[in-house]
Subunit: 213 residues, 2 copies
């Protein structure tokens, strides 16, 4: 059975956990104590993931990192939520790269500093990061103004990648997409309405932490 | 013939331009006036690339964005510098995702603000971004301490992706990898030694700009 090294605050892990639920793939979570530095530890870097990131998947003796690689692998294995042809494969990957580069990357950093960082965030840094979040969220919000899902009018791994952080409660990032990015909000509700959807805090191990700052 | 919309300061465009040189693929540059806002313009966003980014490739009537998608496409078409099997394909993509997420992403933003931004950079933001650059560069520097290239002991599209910004002169980012990250420096020199290598300022159109700040 696949093992996913994860913790409940990680939207990057949630992307893969939710995909496995939607695809009905049996899996087992392994808790990573990220908040106390487990992924910065030498044992993690040398033994598990030199990139120092969560999630990590163990599957048949193979260790896989990067949520996009896992989502593509799961789509290949199950025949679900993947591309229908080569051009669509490029199109899904294009949005997953944008997600890694900007949409998730900026938001995850912003939310972490806002709620879970080791010290109160610097206002100049937060203002800078917020402008980057808004630029990326603006692009996806506009894209979703004329379509129900990111690519091909059906749920795909591109949606599962981009949605990783949007289900976390607004108090963790300090703004509510229902007000700021209504098309992203409506898309999120379409994903939430899928039969096997689960909240990140129910699907993955670890304790909830109240926003610190 | 393939057209690449690019400008000489864009390391993301350089990744693809250099790949086409190494693969001996004929191509034609189309200058993008990024520095004067062309990619923030409605005509660019609505007509060319909603993600607002450079590079953009035109090929046989198709418009392609995201350097990673272009590099994979070029490797497929030429049979050069790509993966030898499915596992290696995952491994190349894993590093290209890390590049998009952290290695290029943080450095490109840091260098842009340091040298080409519209106003003098905020020291708190620069300090924050520099720590992110150093974290990503440290991971790649360590990875290259025991190998000549990123994956499989030969030049691949993973190297061509990660090397996009390392050839720009040190004064543009304010530090010299020869001193700070010697394994990245040595790897860069191995890439520079390839027969068809060219400097980004020679390979792509646009004027050199002296660092502003």
């Amino acid at each position: 059975m696949k093992k996913l090294h994860c913790f409940c605050q990680s939207g990057n892990a949630y992307k893969v956990a939710l995909a496995m639920e939607f695809m009905n793939v049996p899996w087992q979570p392994v808790f990573v104590d990220f908040m106390n530095g487990q992924t910065r530890d030498t044992a993690w870097r040398d033994g598990v993931n030199p990139m120092g990131e969560v999630p990590v998947m163990e599957d048949n003796g193979r260790v896989i990192t990067q949520s996009t690689v896992m989502l593509r692998m799961l789509a290949r294995e199950t025949g679900l939520f993947g591309a229908r042809d080569g051009d669509e494969d490029d199109e899904l990957l294009r949005w997953m790269l944008f997600d890694n580069h900007k949409f998730t990357a900026n938001f995850a950093t912003y939310r972490f500093m806002k709620s879970f960082g080791p010290s109160a965030p610097d206002p100049a840094v937060m203002k800078f990061m917020r402008s980057r979040v808004d630029a990326a969220y603006g692009i996806v919000n506009k894209h979703l103004s004329t379509r129900a899902f990111m690519v091909g009018e059906r749920l795909t791994i591109a949606d599962l990648s981009l949605c990783g952080y949007v289900f976390y409660p607004p108090e963790e990032c300090g703004f509510d997409i229902r007000e700021t990015h209504p098309n992203i909000f409506a898309w999120r509700e379409r994903i939430r309405a899928q039969p096997r959807w689960q909240d990140p805090y129910d699907l993955m191990p670890g304790e909830r932490i109240a926003p610190k700052w």
